[in-house]
């Protein structure tokens, strides 16, 4: 299987009064066809900026993609005009967001909002598009789809709204679905429903998924491959089984040790000392070095490259130099 998406050395900066925020500073990864890539990290690490950069939705000003390349299906997205990008967005790359309540327009019926997306890209007559919306509602397990299309967002629960968003995202059969914390605003029992829906649809449609989450449990359950981000960079990347069974980067190890588990008792949680660095003035060398238990001289001076130290398992850490 070939790569559907190839991101290389992507850097997105935000030029603010407080200084230049280097939200992404050289991010590289790829997603194969039919693959779910999990992107995991804490607040401010650049997960969402990665997604909006791919979608061409970085607000400018203050944001700007300063270097890098995003190859999608062989096309360089960064050189496309806004008009060309608009035909890709929604049709070939679709996105669902964390908060379905704010992604839907409160004054339009949900069926219409899905139908409008279909009409906008395919010029399908609106009646037909509405029927297509009802069919999609059925496919995402919204009960009584024909009645549901004429509901307003406030008449639906959070889980149902997220199903509407998924129906909209899938309406044009996109090759890539970007799901940015799709279940973070939902309850555990509803989260399981939405995750299983995404998984089933991904299988049925054969789409690729970029799944962004701060929840390692969600990532472990869903992703084939995982990339861990820290402070605007990917610090580790590998197959889910390798990464969770044998995490290499001290940050990944620290994260896994810091999470309380529902399936096991830990007497004390391990702590990653310190806080997430300021992106306007990130530490020199490895950005994790001020918090790293293994820190060496070289870590303060040189940024470690992301390279494979085991088959299909990459890490950006000087400790694996030799």
């Amino acid at each position: 299987m070939g790569s559907l998406l190839e991101v290389k050395d992507l850097a997105t900066y935000f030029y603010t009064d407080e200084g230049i925020i280097k939200a992404l500073d050289g991010v590289s990864f790829s997603i194969d066809e039919g693959e779910i890539l999990g992107l995991v990290g804490e607040t401010g690490c650049g997960k969402s900026v990665t997604a909006t950069s791919i979608m061409g939705l970085i607000p400018s000003p203050p944001g700007r993609i300063v270097r890098g390349s995003i190859l999608f299906n062989g096309r360089e997205l960064l050189s496309l005009s806004e008009r060309q990008m608009r035909s890709i967005r929604g049709r070939e790359i679709a996105m669902i967001f964390q908060d379905p309540a704010s992604s839907l327009n409160p004054v339009f019926r949900v069926g219409f909002q899905v139908a409008e997306a279909i009409w906008a890209h395919l010029k399908t007559p609106i009646r037909e598009a509405l029927l297509k919306a009802a069919e999609l509602f059925g496919r995402v397990n919204i009960p009584d789809p024909l009645a549901a299309i004429s509901r307003y967002p406030h008449q639906l629960s959070g889980g149902m709204k997220q199903r509407v968003m998924i129906a909209m995202a899938l309406s044009l059969n996109p090759k890539l679905l970007i799901a940015d914390e799709p279940t973070t605003a939902l309850d555990v029992s509803i989260q399981a429903q939405i995750l299983s829906l995404i998984k089933r649809l991904q299988r049925d449609y054969g789409s690729s998924v970029l799944l962004i989450s701060h929840d390692l449990g969600v990532i472990s359950t869903m992703a084939h491959r995982v990339a861990v981000m820290y402070s605007g960079l990917i610090v580790e990347e590998g197959r889910a089984e390798d990464l969770f069974q044998k995490p290499l980067h001290p940050y990944t190890q620290g994260l896994l040790a810091a999470i309380p588990r529902v399936d096991e008792d830990k007497s004390e949680l391990a702590v990653i000392e310190g806080t997430i660095p300021d992106l306007t003035n990130p530490p020199a060398g490895c950005r994790f070095h001020p918090r790293c238990p293994w820190v060496m001289k070289i870590c303060e001076a040189e940024r470690p490259p992301l390279k494979a130290v085991e088959p299909k398992h990459k890490v950006a850490c000087h400790a694996y130099a030799g």
Binding site: S189, S196, G217, T221, D263, D265, L269
Partner: protein, 323 residues
């Protein structure tokens, strides 16, 4: 273990509609609907449930910040109502709260010294400004902050540090009981671990009793000695932690535990772990057991009658007709 706080069949109904002009409510939200539980001295009761299950309302009721619509609450064996009537200020000193969002719970115009020290001043526990400085500085160091933070404002701190300030404020009056309402839900995992460890340490040192409210079962497992599971205003199951997590009896608890995505290899099949259906509205809860529309094992009696809350093993209580 002696009990510090207990609730007996506590109800809290909020009126819908009805205001200053139209006095008749059109319905009731049954936020808390017959909750019985107890918090033992020096221990943590974890209260877990999904949104709208009544966790936070229960917390506020136990602190006397909401008046129950029915049932009784006891604090060290005395009716809470009585304590509040006799000396509300004294009771405030004994029971405190830490909220979920440290960005909203701290006044942005007050310095850390004012936020943490205000209670001590109002309760006349300090004689001079110098003493206040010393006491607040001691509290700050207890929660892992520094004396130089005294004159800073909340916006100068990260989320984790703000939650430390909120904890220092809760400790300032030397309480026996603290309600922790989702204290780490707004924080990143690496910071969450720091705060959870801090809370555990403080409990050991000060002999505090906690009501730990969270939607996160893993965090509740880590923090609690006993756990109560709420659904739609009712406690469905409560038990010592080990018993609840290793041998959950209620179908809701079982399904909830299953539906949490876990870090495991091979990855779990999430499609097999789903609880169908939505959480019903507490305005119009299903008849009988509130979980019956989503329960795979539901039979006729579940739809007709709310099961009683029974002790089926020592300390392990469950509200289910089938157990």
């Amino acid at each position: 273990m002696p009990t510090l706080v207990s609730a007996e069949k506590v109800l809290k109904y909020f009126p819908i509609g009805g205001g200053i002009l139209t006095s008749k409510p059109t319905g009731w939200v049954r936020a808390v609907d017959g909750v019985s539980l107890s918090v033992e001295k020096g221990r943590t009761l974890g209260l877990v449930g999904e949104s709208g299950s009544g966790k936070s309302t229960t917390g506020l009721l136990l602190l006397g910040l909401l008046k129950p619509s029915g049932g009784r609450i006891f604090f060290e064996g005395e009716p809470l109502e009585e304590l509040l009537r006799r000396d509300p200020r004294r009771f405030r000193r004994r029971a405190q709260i830490v909220f979920q969002n440290p960005f909203a719970s701290l006044n942005p115009r007050m310095t850390v010294k004012d936020i943490v020290g205000r209670g001590m001043k109002l309760h006349g526990l300090v004689e001079s400004d110098r003493e206040l400085d010393e006491r607040v500085a001691a509290l700050l160091s207890e929660v892992g902050l520094k004396e130089e933070h005294l004159s800073r404002y909340p916006h100068e701190f990260s989320g984790g540090q703000r939650q430390r300030i909120a904890i220092a404020r809760a400790l300032a009056l030397n309480p026996e009981f603290i309600v922790l309402d989702e204290p780490t839900s707004a924080l990143d995992v690496s910071v969450q671990a720091q705060i959870l460890n801090l809370l555990k340490g403080l409990q050991r040192l000060r002999g505090l009793s906690y009501l730990f409210i969270s939607h996160n079962l893993a965090v509740v497992r880590h923090m609690s000695h006993e756990v109560a599971v709420m659904y739609l205003g009712k406690v469905m199951e409560s038990a010592p932690k080990d018993s609840l997590f290793s041998d959950p009896l209620h179908p809701y608890t079982q399904a909830l535990l299953k539906s949490i995505p876990k870090i495991s290899f091979p990855p779990e099949d999430i499609e097999k772990k789903v609880i169908e259906g939505d959480i019903p509205s507490p305005v119009n809860p299903p008849s009988g057991c509130p979980f019956n529309p989503r329960c795979r094992r539901a039979v006729d009696i579940c739809r007709a009658e709310m099961p009683g809350f029974r002790e089926v093993m020592p300390g392990h209580w469950v509200a289910c007709h089938l157990v």
